[in-house]
């Protein structure tokens, strides 16, 4: 019995920091609809800032003051980020802001390294709360009890702020319908800034309050990210009680998992999320999302049309250049272009889902990595030749996508996105954990192309043909009746249904199709690198694709390809510098601000302005 209670207390103590960080994320999303990937960075900053204050402020008084100051400082940093980075892009297409927050992650990582150095810091212990108390014979750290006692106060203060104050009323109103709030004369900009301050301050508090249980290190931003997203989704986006219940649920389950199923540590959280979302599609306390905005944010989307005569000519010229590249470039240039082409196909397949289908998948790496693993496993265990493996890879990836899609498509919007992420993460943990079969973290190696394709030049042509072929097929599908049906389902599911389109079915097929295309890219990837590791299935990989699709332009057909080529090319160059993350982060933020329609979309607008291109309505 004592053991059981000690377990629950440990879980509750762990829930404390998790709740603070997650509630901040939930608030920010609820009001601003920004999926703040940088929230983990604010948590990390909280830990570092709190640590620094604790070095100078003595005693128990200093300790708790440091925690409050950390929250305050991080909140102010949040304001700076909101005003400089996010304000300019509120009008951009939905979810575009997440690209900006991704840039913020990179910048914060390098700045933290610059300021505090590379060494980990062990958090100071809380003065006066260093020992343990025995509860029914089991040792329970005093600080754990302090955290358990503290969290309800934070939760209560938040609850009071949200339900009892005028600010809270405005925040709640904005959560439900921010346009209406704006129409009633509330200054939205300051409301958003305020909420951002509060959300970031909570993340900072969370980072500082966990110091005595851990410390500050440079990996903590990404390490907490998946956990807080899971908590927010299980609780229901925007719901504070939900965030609290979910934080406790996850933490307590995790403690029991560690004890009774020690191998479960990788997957447990995501299993819980999948189960909850299947039975409660909007989380435990969430409400059905009001059908998005009233119409789309920003200007209406233009209808797509096939490329014009000149464009075709220029594309042809580009293709010819690529075809003759082996004659002019050196062998590394071919390796680089192969990499870029593979990534472009991967990005284009996500763009197909996201841009045409309106289906925001946060777990697209599952199909890229899935295809790669399918090919690698076939080669390793069945001695399959490369040609067959490249055919089976998209089939396997497509099948995976069809299975995952069947479950995920029951949900919509952000919940759909999070469920795709959960499934990708489950696949990742399966591959990671099942070392005997998949090689686990040590991956599968020595998977090289067949003899005839093993030369750099031959493989370059092979990759080029398959990738450009794939991209053309994706593009062609957009113009086919299927593409029209898919866009119809995106723009107005009800109207599309009324015209006899089975929207769910169309989306399901699109999901499988995009998965298969990502699978081709994955298959090529494994043969170009000769090895495959679970990191190709990671969240970070999915984010890579997501970022380039937005960066390239969701609402332009070429968005995925343009973004992929631009970012991969830029990365190859920028990673040569010492502080490349800072540079890359700033570059991303810069592009986001000057090109809120994505690179392709914005260039098109500029071209129209200076008369290089005709506007469609005049054509």
């Amino acid at each position: 019995m004592g053991f059981f209670i000690a377990q629950i207390l440990t879980g509750l103590a762990n829930a404390s920091a998790l709740f603070m960080v997650a509630s901040g994320l939930s608030l920010i999303f609820g009001v601003t609809r920004i999926v703040n990937f940088a929230h983990g960075s604010f948590y990390m900053l909280g830990a570092y800032v709190g640590y620094s204050f604790m070095q100078v402020l003595p005693g128990a008084w200093g300790f708790w003051t440091s925690i409050l100051l950390a929250g305050l400082v991080v909140g102010i940093i949040g304001i700076v980020v909101e005003m400089l980075v996010l304000r300019p892009v509120y009008k951009a297409p939905e979810l575009f802001q997440l690209v900006a927050t991704f840039g913020v992650i990179l910048v914060v990582q390098d700045l933290t390294l610059l300021i505090w150095g590379a060494d980990d810091f062990l958090g100071p212990r809380a003065p006066g709360l260093k020992g343990i108390i025995r509860i029914m014979g089991e040792p329970v750290p005093k600080y754990d009890l302090a955290l358990i006692a503290l969290t309800p106060f934070v939760a209560f203060a938040l609850w009071w702020l949200i339900t009892k104050t005028r600010t809270g009323i405005l925040v709640r109103a904005a959560t439900q319908d921010r346009e209406m709030v704006g129409a009633l004369g509330v200054n939205q900009a300051w409301l958003f800034t305020g909420v951002f301050f509060l959300g970031c301050a909570l993340a900072g508090l969370g980072g500082a309050v966990q110091l005595p249980k851990g410390g500050a290190d440079l990996l903590m931003d990404f390490n907490i990210l998946s956990a807080i997203f899971v908590v927010v989704v299980i609780g229901g986006m925007g719901s504070l009680p939900g965030a609290y219940v979910a934080a406790v649920l996850i933490s307590v389950l995790n403690v029991f998992g560690v004890n009774y199923l020690p191998q479960s540590t990788l997957a447990l959280m995501f299993v819980v999320m999948v189960v909850v979302l299947i039975f409660r599609p909007f989380g435990l306390f969430g409400r059905e999302e009001v059908a998005g905005e009233h119409g789309q944010v920003g200007e209406p989307e233009r209808p797509i049309k096939p490329a014009g005569q000149t464009a075709r000519m220029i594309v042809m010229a580009g293709l010819v250049l690529l075809a003759f590249l082996p004659l002019i470039g050196d062998s590394f240039l071919l390796v680089l272009i192969t990499d870029i082409a593979i990534f472009c196909l991967f990005a284009a397949s996500l763009h197909f889902l996201l841009g045409l289908g309106g289906l925001v998948s946060f777990g697209h790496a599952a199909y890229f990595g899935g295809g790669a693993y399918a090919a690698a496993l076939l080669v390793t265990y069945a001695g399959t030749p490369m040609e067959l493996a490249l055919i089976l890879a998209p089939l396997a990836a497509g099948l995976t996508a069809i299975i995952f899609g069947w479950v995920c498509l029951r949900l919509t919007g952000v919940y759909f996105a999070m469920l795709t992420l959960a499934f990708a993460q489950l696949l990742w943990s399966l591959v990671f954990q099942w070392g005997d079969f998949t090689g686990g973290d040590d991956g599968l190696v020595d998977i090289w192309p067949s003899e005839w394709a093993s030369g750099t030049t031959t493989f370059y042509y092979l990759a080029l043909v398959l990738c450009i072929g794939g991209i053309i097929i994706l593009r062609h599908t957009a113009h086919a009746p299927f593409g029209y049906a898919l866009r119809g389902a995106r723009d107005s599911a009800r109207q599309a249904e009324a015209t006899g389109i089975n929207t769910k079915h169309v989306q399901w097929v699109a999901f499988g199709f995009a998965g298969a295309m990502a699978g081709i890219a994955g298959g090529l990837f494994v043969f170009s690198k000769g090895s495959i590791f679970p990191n190709e299935l990671e969240i970070a990989r999915s984010f890579d694709a997501l970022i380039v699709v937005f960066l390239g332009g969701v609402k332009t057909l070429a968005g995925g390809v343009v973004g992929g080529a631009a970012l991969e090319g830029a990365k190859d160059y920028i990673t040569r510098f010492e502080y490349w993350r800072l540079l890359l982060g700033l570059l991303i933020i810069f592009v986001v601000i000057v090109a809120p329609d994505g690179i392709a979309g914005t260039l098109r607008k500029w071209a129209e302005k200076i008369g290089l291109m005709k506007r469609e309505d005049q054509a």
Binding site: V335, Q433, Y573
Partner: protein
């Protein structure tokens, strides 16, 4: 529409940017060094300093083969796929004669596979995975640092001397953790067949729930604990375990726990009494080890980490192999690695011909506090050659890899 055009323009621009990079047109021997300088800054930083110090020394003494040696440092973001791309660039465009680097085992394995395919020589400096020289070993890959198995076997030897029977293990849930536990079990059971393993805990890497793990270990009531966690996980585990009295009256063995990279951040909370592998730089009072520590501290005004030592020895090994090969041809370098002797701060080491593993050993000692910082006492340097598998077993493992 000019969208596709734009793509081509970008590809072209990227290509031109890549071609246009300045290449130092100097007669030097270039070595391609790939690492996770940002992702693992705390470990790669000291490693790079060690390399730079050794390079200065080598070049001051006239370089190798009559030319100065130069390292090209490249960051792979910790991604195996990136590392493979960079390796190609280093070898085909930058004119590197061989490759070295990496800390993460998966990146090391990826480069190793490329090395075998393209016939590039690769010296895996820091990755620990046994697979690199055993089950996935190949003709072109060599490793400097003692492998997971070797270090675990050293600790198992210490553990076998005590009368502890019930062991519990805690290791991060990924390849290195699993290898380290399997190796410890194998080596310990061989020395002392009656031991029992009563609990195995597998926290996710860098996401440990230390309180829960400590409770779970306590519940198994082991006589001894074998720890493989490191970095932030180790700090949390030490604190939660210490607070809850988990380590009282128990023998604890910690793989790598005594390395400055991991022990320094613990400050005065370094867990006294743990038997660990590490690097007692402050306690080395004589010989080439002392010379290295003094030179390093004089140059950088900071103490060396284990990474600094490995970086330094990497350059020494490469200089030695190039001198022995007498050329920068891959085949010559590869052949020269067989039974190559190198004089290093830890003593003389040899690159074994049978599995391409260097005999660099490890320091094993007991953690003690000195001036509020963790250090090792009663330490010994164990030669790696004594803690490997038999030649038959090695042959069997390597046979299946290629």
């Amino acid at each position: 529409m000019k969208r596709m055009t734009f793509l081509k323009g970008l590809v072209g621009a990227a290509a031109i940017a890549a071609i246009g990079l300045p290449v130092v047109a100097q007669e030097t021997i270039k070595i391609g060094e790939i690492n996770h300088y940002k992702r693992m800054a705390a470990f790669a930083g000291p490693y790079k300093l060690g390399i730079e110090m050794a390079l200065e020394e080598v070049n001051a003494a006239g370089g190798v083969l009559g030319k100065p040696m130069e390292f090209i440092f490249r960051d792979d973001q910790g991604k195996p796929g990136e590392a493979v791309k960079i390796a190609e660039e280093l070898m085909t465009r930058d004119g590197a004669v061989m490759l070295t680097g990496t800390i993460l085992s998966n990146v090391g394995l990826a480069i190793s596979s490329l090395a075998a395919e393209k016939k590039y020589v690769y010296l895996a400096s820091e990755p620990l995975a046994d697979a690199i020289t055993w089950s996935k070993g190949n003709d072109y890959t060599f490793r400097l640092r003692s492998s997971t198995y070797m270090q675990a076997a050293m600790l198992a030897e210490e553990a076998a001397k005590t009368d502890a029977i019930r062991y519990a293990t805690i290791a991060p849930n990924y390849a290195y953790g699993k290898d380290a536990v399997a190796a410890f079990k194998k080596a310990l059971t061989k020395l002392k067949p009656e031991v029992e393993f009563v609990a195995e805990q597998w926290p996710a890497l860098f996401k440990i729930d230390a309180g829960a793990e400590a409770q779970a270990l306590e519940r198994a009531k082991p006589d001894a604990i074998y720890n493989v966690t490191f970095g932030g996980d180790l700090a949390k585990f030490v604190r939660e375990g210490g607070t809850r009295g988990l380590f009282e009256g128990r023998n604890v063995y910690g793989l790598l726990s005594g390395e400055p990279e991991y022990m320094d951040p613990l400050g005065d909370e370094a867990p006294e009494g743990w038997v660990v592998t590490g690097y007692p730089w402050s306690e080395i009072t004589e010989g080439p080890g002392k010379v290295f520590v003094d030179a390093y501290m004089a140059k950088y005004d900071d103490h060396p980490r284990i990474g600094s030592l490995v970086g330094y020895m990497t350059v020494q090994s490469i200089a030695a192999v190039l001198e022995k090969a007498g050329s920068t041809d891959s085949e010559a370098i590869r052949a020269a690695f067989a039974d190559l002797p190198v004089s290093t701060p830890v003593g003389d080491i040899t690159f074994r011909a049978q599995d391409h593993q260097a005999t660099m050993g490890a320091y094993v000692g007991t953690i003690a506090l000195k001036d509020g910082k963790g250090t090792l006492e009663n330490w010994v340097y164990k030669d790696g050659a004594d803690y490997t598998l038999s030649d038959e077993e090695v042959m069997k493992l390597r046979g299946s890899g290629n």
